[in-house]
């Protein structure tokens, strides 16, 4: 019971794939300029993650270590293609706005990372919980970043105007920089800073100590 709880809840903050492991940054930067894309992307990644963790956990006793990664990649890639086809069929307009980034879930390190680190060593049920936990952890960050970027970048959320922009006779001056990818880096950086101030145990130990140079020496 404790393990199940941990598998599900730890990835939300304590072991968040984005803020602790710094995985999945590519899509977190690329598609977070609108809340709608972020929600769809979160849903897609969580489903792919759940599927890949289940399948790989079922195969875990029959995975020769020599071909382990390539088999996992094949399983993940097929799942992503099917998910992409489904999205293109049933939500073609959303598929167009997300363009290549659904296909790029294949290269999202969270999926392979969870397959390797968790599903390959744990039972199916536990792996599913881990997938859902990590999916939600990723979604939390994505949705937070998208919320900030869309609200302050356009003044609207999901096409509902909240802060009326100056161009429409309101008072709010949208921050155009927030619509550009680099702004996601700043926001994710601030979130990581916030989490690590709150949970200092997440701070990585320094790889090396700078050597203090005695300034009086050598002139």
């Amino acid at each position: 019971m404790m393990r199940a709880r941990r598998a599900l809840l730890a990835p939300l903050i304590d072991e968040n794939p984005v803020t602790l492991h710094i995985l999945g940054i590519c899509s977190a930067v690329a598609i977070t300029n609108s809340l709608h894309s972020a929600l769809i992307m979160s849903l897609m990644l969580t489903s792919v993650l759940a599927y890949s963790n289940i399948v790989i956990s079922m195969m875990r006793r029959h995975l020769p270590s020599s071909v382990r990664i390539i088999v996992q990649m094949t399983v993940i890639a097929s799942g992503v293609i099917v998910a992409d086809e489904l999205l293109q069929t049933f939500a073609p307009e959303t598929a167009q706005t997300l363009s290549v980034f659904v296909g790029l879930i294949i290269t999202n390190c969270i999926v392979l990372g969870r397959a390797e680190a968790f599903a390959a060593h744990n039972k199916v049920g536990l792996s599913l919980l881990d997938a859902i936990g990590n999916g939600i952890g990723f979604s939390l960050i994505l949705i937070t970043v998208a919320f900030i970027r869309e609200l302050f970048g356009t003044g609207a959320l999901m096409e509902v105007v909240i802060l009326k922009p100056v161009s429409d006779g309101g008072w709010f001056e949208p921050n155009m920089m927030l619509l550009l990818p680099p702004s996601a880096f700043f926001i994710i950086g601030c979130i990581i800073w916030g989490i690590r101030s709150w949970r200092p145990q997440q701070v990585e130990r320094a790889d090396f100590q700078p050597i203090a140079i005695d300034e009086s020496e050598g002139k």
Partner: protein
């Protein structure tokens, strides 16, 4: 069996590959018809959008778009003879699909191949827009090579067979942000009211670099180019000049008054 034996590795790899390929194939093949239907619906939306009979097409539901499309009268044109072809049902026959099929394909002479197509179908589906039984617009398909991609669109002309009523591009793969504004309504609406031919019937239509000087002679035949997208806008201009030229719809348009009255008596 030992997990680390080479045989086991081969079995696992082959069976994974087989299962996954079946999964992907089934998904792709079974979902294809729905995806195609959506593409058709999208194309229909573009046609309805320039027909001038519907409200701004963005505000219509899918069913309203289909209903508006049903009000248009599709006809198949035989480009060589410049007449209507009655052999095929224009609602079901896909003239774009048969463009490369040997029995329909026509090689375009290099000197006339402005749109750089190489070949085209001898048949083309056009749409007649009628309001109270009176012909108001004709929607003609045009396509040609842009900078990177084949650009597909429609041009709607008024019933004088000369004035551009509207145009649209429904498929292109030009440079995002530079060439792809050819799909923006802001640019497309600048085509409205421009003329294709002069009094002598010579094709004068051009897309020029920069903005059109409205006071100059001949500006009625000119459309503003897109800054930085000379190759793409030249592609669009050449495809329009090809399709309204002697190897395109020109013969048909010259015949139109006779063939349309013949068609009405049927």
């Amino acid at each position: 069996m030992d997990n680390e034996s080479p045989l086991k590795a081969i079995i696992v790899v082959v069976s994974t590959a087989l299962v996954c390929s079946v999964l992907v194939t089934v998904a792709a093949v079974s979902l294809q018809p729905i995806q195609n239907a959506y593409q058709d619906l999208e194309r229909i939306g573009y046609i309805v959008g320039i027909s001038g009979i519907a409200e701004p097409v963005e505000e219509l539901s899918e069913l309203e778009i289909i209903a508006a499309f049903q009000d248009l009268e599709p006809r198949i044109v035989d480009l060589e003879r410049g007449t209507f072809d009655e052999t095929y049902n224009p609602r079901t026959f896909d003239t774009r699909e048969v463009a490369t099929a040997p029995e329909f394909s026509v090689t375009i002479p290099t000197a006339e191949d402005l749109a750089r197509l190489g070949q085209r179908s001898r048949l083309a589906t056009i749409y007649l827009v009628r309001e109270n039984d009176e012909l108001v617009r004709i929607i003609l398909p045009v396509y040609g090579q842009g900078m990177w991609s084949t650009i597909y669109g429609f041009v709607a002309i008024e019933n004088d067979l000369n004035t551009i009523a509207d145009m649209t591009i429904y498929e292109q793969g030009e440079t995002p942000g530079i060439g792809d504004p050819i799909q923006s309504r802001e640019w497309q609406t600048r085509w409205q009211g421009r003329k294709l031919y002069d009094e002598d019937g010579t094709l004068r239509f051009r897309i020029i670099r920069g903005a059109v000087d409205r006071s100059s002679a001949g500006s009625i035949y000119e459309v503003d180019g897109l800054t930085g997208a000379t190759m793409t806008t030249n592609g669009v201009m050449n495809m329009v000049r090809y399709w309204f030229g002697p190897h395109g719809f020109e013969t048909f348009l010259n015949n139109f008054s006779t063939v349309s009255s013949a068609g009405d008596t049927q």
